[in-house]
């Protein structure tokens, strides 16, 4: 008599005629089908232009006339272009000042907003709101605040007997002023990520630390920071990438790279070369150098992260 249990047993023993029927392969096909649309968009609108830009970087091309193939001349030109040096120094200055500052302020705010107090949601909204403000509107507002003649910043300084400053119009002050402005609009997102990270730290770790007699600084140092380190690492990576690329809108709408070339950052120089001077080949070469530098910095951070980032369940 054929039993019901016999059938699946026989079925299971039958060898699969084609590797495509393997569950792991079918799963992979399903996964790729699900991301196919995104993958197509990514290939067409990101990968293809990147590949094209590498070709363009080896040409002299003003969009309209035919391109002249110049091999690596654009890359060689970078070395002797004084504005590449100036804009690189400015970018590094702004980046090195803004990234640690953003991380510290965002973490401090997240710690403050992680307290169990009344109306905490209102406070969180208030501190997050500036990051949602349109960048152009924000830039114009800060231009007025830092106006040397009648800006609020100088009203504040003079009211306590300090001399007024030229802020964005002073070559030595303009970069720190830009960083100050980015702090206002830029910490909100990092703060929310820190907050989510803080709320994911198991309560029993704090209880154990308390039982062991740890004070608030020791708890922060030996519980919060290690448990939060993956989040700090994430914010650090995003912060560095953004600082090399994302301040364009703000600077374009405030100083346009001035006074002198004090706030001319690398991405703005790329923009000028591409869309004001129409030196597309040179701009593409500049872009590839930036991409390589950011990639190298990110890789370096991943290498260093092994020493200080602790993943739950990791070694």
């Amino acid at each position: 008599m054929t039993t019901i249990e016999g059938a699946p047993k026989a079925n299971a023993q039958r060898p699969l005629s084609h590797p495509w029927f393997l569950p792991s392969v079918r799963e992979a096909i399903d996964a790729y089908a699900c991301i196919a649309v995104w993958l197509a968009g990514f290939s067409i609108f990101t990968v293809a232009p990147m590949v094209a830009s590498l070709g363009i970087a080896m040409t002299k091309w003003d969009i309209i006339a035919d391109a002249e193939f110049v091999w690596f001349a654009n890359f060689a030109r970078l070395a002797s272009d004084p504005l590449v040096r100036v804009s690189s120094i400015n970018t590094v200055f702004i980046s090195f000042l803004s990234v640690p500052l953003h991380l510290i302020v965002a973490l401090a705010l997240a710690l403050a907003l992680n307290q169990k107090i009344r109306n905490i949601l209102v406070y969180r909204t208030i501190f997050f709101l500036p990051s949602q403000m349109p960048l152009v509107a924000s830039a114009l507002m800060w231009m007025w605040i830092f106006n040397p003649d009648f800006g609020l910043a100088n009203v504040g300084l003079t009211s306590v007997g300090l001399p007024p400053l030229k802020w964005l119009f002073d070559p030595s002050l303009s970069k720190p002023t830009i960083v100050l402005i980015t702090l206002w609009g830029g910490v909100g997102t990092a703060m929310m990520i820190f907050l989510a990270g803080l709320q994911g730290i198991p309560e029993q770790l704090y209880e154990a630390a308390s039982i062991d007699g740890a004070g608030s600084w020791a708890t922060f140092r030996f519980v919060t920071v290690p448990m939060l380190s993956p989040v700090i690492f994430f914010n650090l990576i995003i912060g560095i990438i953004s600082s090399f690329q994302a301040y364009f809108t703000l600077i374009y709408n405030t100083t346009q790279g001035g006074p002198g070339h004090a706030t001319l950052i690398y991405v703005m120089y790329i923009f000028f070369k591409a869309f004001q001077d129409f030196q597309m080949g040179y701009a593409a070469a500049l872009s590839w150098v930036l991409f390589t530098v950011v990639l190298a910095l990110t890789g370096l951070q991943f290498l260093m992260a092994r020493r200080w980032v602790h993943y739950e369940g990791g070694e």
């Binding site: 290939s43 094209a52 040409t59 391109a67 193939f69 119009f169």
Partner: protein
């Protein structure tokens, strides 16, 4: 070696492998997806029927009032030209070159586009404009010669003029009355309208602090190529050498003029700096400026101000007066589809037919000789506008266009001037640094 992008002549004649064909097809599909196909060669067949034509035109207006003038001109042209409708694209001036270049590269240029002396040479040399020499042969005689000279290069005409705005100085009579100072018109009447007296007049009316400060003179010295050209020429100086291969801005004549402006900013504090102009496109309109360079189009903008306006010509220098112009012409970009109708429009804009709308609006100074003495022009002038000043200005215009890569050169000078205006760099150093950065922009 010049060649179309991504085509390697070295590979011609090489047998095509399947991999190469597949690769080329893949790349082709990618680029086809990213951009519009190249324009097809012009159809040589005559049009079967006179289908309605929509002319796409790109110009920039400098104010809401200006926009309305353009709208009216195009509307009336459409009404007077059966089967033709004009679609006006009002492109902000600071985005104009980018947009036109992109449209040309995409093979979708407008039928007509505005031209400006700041960058027209780049468009002519880049073969982005249609040669209008033959079409304009019978019409050239109608125009003021300087207005044609702006758009003539390599012996060919590349644009049809429609707007002229030769330089003059607008002043705020109310400020001068309040300060009890002799105004520029009175100085001119007494034969004392010199650059030195302009500086004294500016000092006399400068007053106040902060947001209420009144500045005597607004001249935009950060714009070396346009606003500084007149005092430089009047000082017997030149901005470039004759064949335009070198900026001559370190010469004594130019240095004197830049120093004069630097002194007005730093010593007299009678000129606004970048910080004072923040977010304000033209400070004169706010009533906080005694005197300012102006072009005719500005007369529309002072129509509703609550102060009394006056006008005066260029002050006397070592020579001159030699005036600049911020003229505009209409060009037909290469690849324009409706060349005949487009040419009709550009001819119409600066001519007698459009005068009751365009010239009467008070926006331009005429570009055609016959219109200078016309009643339409005379009636278009506001009570404070003086015909004799315009006439002198028209006759003393020097048709100079910015050579080389104008935007790059302008950025270089602006960067150096900003340090001067902050008192952090002296004028000779600024000019020397600017020259070093600007000279390469004149090389091909």
């Amino acid at each position: 070696m010049r060649m179309p992008l991504f085509i390697n002549p070295a590979s011609a004649g090489t047998p095509l492998s399947r991999r190469r064909v597949l690769g080329a097809t893949g790349l082709g599909l990618i680029f086809a997806a990213c951009g519009e196909a190249s324009p097809k060669p012009a159809d040589t067949k005559p049009a079967v029927s006179a289908a309605p034509v929509e002319l796409k035109v790109a110009y920039w207006s400098s104010s809401p009032e200006d926009h309305v003038v353009f709208e009216n001109v195009f509307k009336i042209f459409g009404e007077k030209t059966p089967g033709t409708k004009v679609a006006f694209d009002d492109v902000p001036s600071d985005q104009f070159v980018q947009k036109m270049t992109t449209m040309l590269a995409a093979g979708t240029p407008p039928d007509t586009m505005e031209l400006h002396p700041a960058w027209v040479l780049e468009f002519i040399n880049g073969k982005r404009l249609t040669d209008l020499t033959d079409r304009a042969r019978d019409h050239k005689g109608l125009y003021i010669q300087a207005q044609l000279d702006f758009w003539t290069a390599n012996g060919k005409l590349w644009g049809m003029p429609y707007y002229s705005g030769p330089s003059f100085i607008m002043y705020n009579k109310s400020i001068f009355k309040k300060a009890g100072a002799k105004n520029p018109e009175d100085l001119a009447k007494d034969g004392q309208w010199t650059w030195e007296n302009l500086r004294k007049a500016a000092q006399a009316v400068t007053s106040g602090t902060g947001g209420d400060k009144v500045f005597g003179w607004d001249a935009a010295p950060e714009n070396l190529q346009f606003y500084m050209s007149v005092p430089v020429w009047d000082n017997q100086g030149e901005l470039t050498n004759k064949d335009e291969t070198e900026w001559t801005i370190t010469t004594p004549a130019v240095t004197e003029v830049v120093q004069y402006h630097a002194d007005m900013v730093l010593k007299d504090k009678s000129m606004p700096t970048a910080a004072d102009l923040q977010g304000i496109s033209w400070l004169f309109r706010t009533g906080r400026v005694g005197m300012a360079w102006a072009g005719k189009f500005r007369s529309l903008e002072v129509g509703t101000v609550d102060f009394e306006v006056g006008m005066v010509g260029t002050p006397k220098g070592k020579t001159g007066p030699i005036n600049r112009d911020g003229p505009n012409a209409s060009g037909l970009p290469t690849g324009t589809k409706n060349v005949d109708q487009a040419y009709k429009l550009v001819l119409y804009m600066g001519g007698v037919d459009a005068a009751p709308t365009y010239l009467a609006s008070g926006r331009p100074v005429p570009v055609q000789k016959a219109l200078v003495e016309s009643d339409i022009f005379k009636k278009s002038l506001k009570p404070w506008e003086r015909l004799e000043i315009y006439k002198e200005s028209i006759n003393t215009v020097r048709a100079w266009r910015v050579p080389g890569k104008g935007a790059e050169a302008a950025r270089a000078w602006t960067a150096e001037w900003s340090k001067v205006s902050l008192g952090q760099q002296d004028v000779p150093t600024a000019l020397k640094n600017a020259k070093a950065a600007m000279d390469p922009t004149l090389k091909a």
